[in-house]
């Protein structure tokens, strides 16, 4: 059974169609990345998968259950979200922030159980956040902060994790670190990751599968290497793109001033 099924999903805001009849399925233990130009509907799609938007038509189901049939708590036990612009509640400690991921487990009227605390400790350990546990969240650097937001999502202990542009504003090393961390979680815990990324090179290197979205519709859906090399990619971005092989890794390079938009 697929862990996430998106079935003929349409999402409208007013009379504008953001997502149009998208059908996709995501398997356990895989990393899929949604790519596409600005305004393609990537964030709308992942927010709908995370249950923050209601489908106008069609359905999203997580582990076989329709997302619109769940309440917030049931949903939070099945899918976790790393938002594009997380709110940083100044004054809260890193530990307390990461522990927010356990709220769906212990509930709003009970304190964290020993098991909840053990999960938080283990995630802090895995993400090298132990030394920051007592720090005010507002004092962290961009890289530390993103790691902390990821930690909160992982403490939710869900099988599905949705990442919306998780590396925005990070330097190259921290971008790689962040994605490597997530990749090892996918392997070790058999997670299903659905991410959006602007960086096509990183998208190609970290995802098992790429889905190219444009104007709310799926254009290509396939193994990362194939999608990166397809002519359609350059066409949809409206520019000249080349894929260069560097030590076995695909690197997508934009080339300035090309008349031939289909690349070399």
């Amino acid at each position: 059974m697929s862990s996430v099924e998106v079935n003929e999903l349409s999402v409208r805001a007013g009379n504008k169609t953001l997502i149009s009849e998208v059908t996709l399925a995501f398997e356990p233990g895989t990393w899929s990345t949604i790519i596409g130009p600005n305004g393609a509907g990537k964030t709308t799609l992942v927010e709908t998968i995370a249950g923050l938007r209601r489908p106008s038509h069609g359905a999203v189901s997580i582990l076989g259950e329709a997302i619109t049939e769940m309440n917030e708590r049931e949903r939070a036990l099945r899918v976790a979200l790393v938002p594009q612009h997380p709110v940083v509640p100044s004054g809260m400690s890193v530990y307390d922030y990461v522990a927010l991921g356990r709220v769906a487990h212990h509930g709003l009227f009970h304190p964290a159980s020993p098991r909840d605390r053990a999960v938080v400790e283990s995630v802090l350990e895995r993400l090298s956040l132990v030394e920051f546990r007592g720090r005010d969240v507002a004092t962290l650097s961009g890289g530390e902060r993103q790691r902390m937001v990821l930690a909160r999502a992982l403490t939710q202990s869900t099988m599905v994790v949705v990442l919306d542009e998780p590396i925005t504003g990070l330097d190259l090393r921290h971008q790689m670190n962040m994605l490597e961390l997530m990749k090892s979680e996918v392997h070790e815990c058999g997670l299903t990751v659905v991410a959006t990324l602007h960086d096509l090179t990183l998208a190609g290197q970290f995802a098992d599968r790429l889905v190219l979205l444009d104007r709310g519709e799926v254009v290509i859906d396939g193994p990362a290497a194939a999608v990166i090399r397809s002519d359609e990619l350059a066409k949809r971005y409206g520019m000249n793109l080349r894929v260069v092989d560097v030590d076995g890794a695909d690197v997508v390079v934009p080339v300035r001033h090309g008349d031939n938009v289909n690349g070399a």
């Binding site: 249950g51 917030e72 949903r75 100044s90 004054g91 809260m92 922030y97 991921g101 709220v103 769906a104």
Partner: protein
């Protein structure tokens, strides 16, 4: 944290004793303390019949309504600041004050036939306060796309409409009734008897319990609506329940004692500076601290120019503002 909690409990006890001991009829402190213990079954009565009447019939209900008003306004303010994620939020944000003001003004000016403050003033104030919050909610809180800013703006609009209606009523009336309206608006615990206490007690206790119980939810909601939903919090339901509880409790208090300003905004901030940003700590400590603070303020209000009284709202601001400024200068920036 434990230190602050213990400190506020001691402050509360001292405030209760001051509220019972201080006044024109002198009653020795030890006798009052002894009599408090006698009331809970330890030892014997230590007061003369006259002293007993002064302490338990005149001062005690006034002290108890002060406790209730202080805790309710403080916890409602803290709750509003949490639910709106806004440091300027106070219990009057959604129109409770202006609604109560209009209700009371209507009662005093139009129903009093020019004399006195009619007995249904509290009832009309309560109805006005609740009506204002409900209208604000219907405008700004119901729609699926509304957020807390919409609700705050709806509150501002409703409040200015009701205030202008109240001003119009006042402008049409005699100078005598304007004075009575003004006195009512300033807030006072002077008219409180045991009847008032028992009338507001059930509302206030239930509302305080709901607000304090929402502490953990408000902590999660400090990461914003979307993220707290993704963490499993039914944000809209929590928001509705805590706003309903804070508003109901505040309306009950306002209708009994008038508009006492400053407690609801300043007490939660003082507490936050002392115990940190978690609403699980801020709200329960605010309940105790607010109660102690208001009883102290009222003791001052009724003694410094006795036999006349200072308006309670003036005293709360006179004490509260300097205390707040001192703490603010020691601990900054203001966390929310």
């Amino acid at each position: 944290m434990a230190f602050v909690a213990a400190g506020t409990v001691v402050a509360l006890f001292v405030a209760i004793v001051c509220g019972l001991v201080i006044g024109p009829t002198s009653v020795p402190t030890w006798r009052v303390v002894g009599d408090i213990f006698a009331h809970v079954g330890i030892g014997h009565n230590t007061l003369t019949p006259l002293q007993s009447t002064v302490v338990w019939t005149l001062r005690a209900p006034r002290m108890v309504i002060g406790l209730l008003a202080g805790s309710m306004l403080a916890v409602a303010g803290g709750t509003y600041q949490g639910v709106f994620r806004n440091p300027l939020a106070d219990p009057y944000l959604l129109g409770v004050a202006s609604g109560a003001g209009l209700g009371a003004t209507f009662a005093i000016i139009d129903l009093s036939h020019g004399v006195g403050t009619p007995t249904w003033t509290p009832l009309l104030a309560f109805v006005g306060a609740m009506a204002a919050v409900i209208v604000t909610w219907l405008i700004g809180g119901r729609s699926i796309r509304s957020n807390t800013s919409t609700l705050i703006l709806a509150g501002v609009a409703v409040a200015s409409l009701l205030t202008s209606a109240q001003t119009f009523l006042q402008q049409q009336s005699s100078a005598g009734s304007i004075t009575r309206v003004y006195i009512w608006l300033l807030g006072s615990l002077a008219s409180a008897g045991w009847g008032t206490v028992w009338l507001v007690f059930p509302y206030v206790i239930v509302c305080i319990i709901i607000c304090v119980g929402a502490g953990r939810a408000l902590d999660v909601m400090s990461v914003g609506e979307e993220e707290s939903r993704s963490l499993g919090v039914p944000v809209r339901r929590v928001r509705f329940i805590v706003i309903a509880a804070s508003s109901l409790g505040t309306a009950a208090i306002v209708s009994a004692v008038g508009l006492i300003g400053f407690v609801g905004i300043i007490v939660p901030h003082i507490v936050r500076l002392l115990v940190g940003t978690s609403y699980r700590r801020i709200l329960p400590i605010s309940v105790i601290f607010g109660a102690a603070f208001l009883v102290f303020a009222d003791t001052i209000a009724r003694t410094v120019i006795a036999p006349s009284e200072l308006p309670l709202g003036v005293v709360t601001a006179l004490i509260g503002a300097p205390v707040f400024v001192i703490i603010l200068s020691l601990r900054r920036p203001v966390p929310v």
